[in-house]
Symmetry: C2
Subunit: 341 residues, 2 copies
């Protein structure tokens, strides 16, 4: 595969939880042109087990993330295989020794990219789905004066304990495969990666999605075909340690776990100045709308706008449902058209 | 452990899906005394990864299942290690070759026990939680003239596709452990059994249960303590092939998959004559109330009465919440006091 992205060299970075990662790299891709006063920038984050390649379809002329109007940066989340990850980091922090990189770390690095590389001081919008929604919340809480608008979809500002437990199950399935070898494999633990996909399958979509056999409407010929070609294959193509690294990031998610807020979650939510549309999926099994309601109730300038969709978690950004895609695009357009101080 | 139960010798049985299981055994335990006209019998079924030992606490004087009034039979579900199971069946149908035993098979065998062994022709009540709720529905659909009342809790008459997928994840985690050896292990695949427990953990209780840290209120000192001592240990003590056998039974559940109803699920529900109180958990993640609503709407004499409880699936019969226990006991008492034709 030809490399279609840029690398921002972060140098040696001290991570939030203590490790020093030498020669850390932030992979990113940009779309559109930064205007003269650098006022048209958007950050669009990446989700679990994905890269910018999986998200860039959202960026097209006529859509909210229109590259003829905006300069859109997709920074790749650490652990995703493009930015520094277990799979591409040399010893001593390679493979199983790749350290915990928090969302706080990710956003500090993305902030460096945005400011040092591009000289941008204002972001019109930060948005993203799932783990990218968590990054979106972190942007708004860590840089409240810089971020004008956010639209986090199907994600949370603080990983719930239920969500933590759900990920424990996914990790347990992956690492039950002896071929994982505590992360020191030479060949991918394919049985574990597939098991991980099969565990995820029950979580990703709603009960009604399966009740109505919606998988038949999105290109799969049977339930087992959906489990194999969609779920197993998604993870079958990934690096196992990278998956663990991203889940560790996810599990540690908390916008208040830093020196700004010292664990005071409500204080961190209060501090978000961005105009926000928070969009949970009404049937999301691991980011239930109740947690989004709490967030919105404690944010000064936020609206709750759930997806009404049996796609569950996948309503938030997968592109599998044209109805959900339009609902999101309309919200983003409205948000971008809303004047902010 | 001293054996505290009886064995009903079924002889060689031809199973619904074709296999002939030689010398099949139905393990059971009874409580109370059968009265002279054999009119006080109740069947109380067993759930996933459990035996009568896990359920018999429900049976006590003063409770609905009062052994001073009723003759209560707990038949052990096939695959649970007491009735015929992968772990106790000799070759050729031992271990990985243990055949699929459907709920239909289980209930036919239980019917033989009840009629041949005890000469009972009327059951005042059949009840049970989860997989036992499925057995309860099967009793009512297969022997509509014999079963006067049913109270299935947190279970379904037909396993939903989402529930099927959830079990695929649990099975995948268990069998990802190389020590499982496709079922031909000599030593239990403990890593897989523990992974199975960790996957189950996200499903068993509701998001709110974790949000409110309810595990601290039921005897666990931390989230990880709950994951290890409750969830991992539950399966750590079980036989892996038995777990797979029970999940196969569960996945194949459908009261209409037989010669009586030929796959017509609504017809099978319509045929249930028993007075029924159907009790889903309002926050059950794998037996959502919507499926129970459909069942009740198609049963001629049924009431929907959900548990309002953040214990999710475990509201239905675990005994962990005294509020849920009382809610169930009250429903059973009311049901048993209701005259039926």
């Amino acid at each position: 595969m030809a490399v279609d992205y840029e690398i921002f060299e972060l140098g040696d970075v001290v991570l939030q939880k203590g490790a020093t990662l030498p020669d850390a790299k932030l992979a990113y891709k940009t779309f559109g042109k930064l205007n003269a006063d650098k006022s048209n920038a958007i950050v669009f984050c990446t989700y679990m087990a994905s890269t910018h390649l999986d998200s860039q379809w959202v960026i097209q002329e006529g859509s909210a993330l229109d590259p003829s109007k905006y300069f859109i940066i997709i920074p790749n989340c650490f652990g995703n295989g493009f930015s520094s990850s277990p799979s591409n980091t040399p010893a001593p922090y390679n493979k199983a020794r790749f350290p915990l990189v928090t969302y706080y770390d990710n956003i500090r690095f993305q902030h460096r990219l945005v400011t040092e590389k591009f000289g941008i001081t204002t972001l019109q919008l930060v948005t993203g789905w799932s783990m990218a929604a968590a990054q979106t919340f972190h942007w708004a809480a860590l840089y409240p004066d810089m971020v004008k608008r956010i639209c986090p979809t199907a994600g949370s500002a603080k990983t719930s304990l239920h969500n933590f437990v759900m990920l424990e199950g996914v990790k347990a399935a992956l690492t039950a495969d002896d071929a994982f070898k505590d992360g020191w494999y030479e060949t991918q633990p394919y049985k574990g990666l597939r098991a991980m996909g099969r565990v995820y399958a029950g979580w990703g979509f709603s009960q009604e999605f399966y009740r109505k056999k919606e998988y038949l409407n999105i290109g799969y010929s049977s339930l087992e075909d959906f489990l194999v070609r969609f779920w197993e294959q998604w993870f079958n193509l990934r690096d196992a340690n990278n998956m663990v690294a991203m889940m560790r990031t996810w599990q540690a998610g908390d916008i208040s776990d830093n020196e700004l807020y010292n664990g005071d979650f409500v204080k961190a939510l209060n501090a978000i100045k961005a105009r926000a549309i928070v969009m949970p999926g009404n049937c999301d099994l691991y980011f239930p709308p109740e947690d989004s309601e709490f967030e919105v109730a404690n944010m000064p300038n936020a609206e709750l706008r759930p997806f009404i969709s049996n796609h569950g978690h996948f309503a938030g950004g997968s592109g599998l449902s044209q109805k959900d895609v339009k609902f999101l695009d309309d919200a983003l357009k409205e948000l971008l058209a809303t004047p902010v101080p």
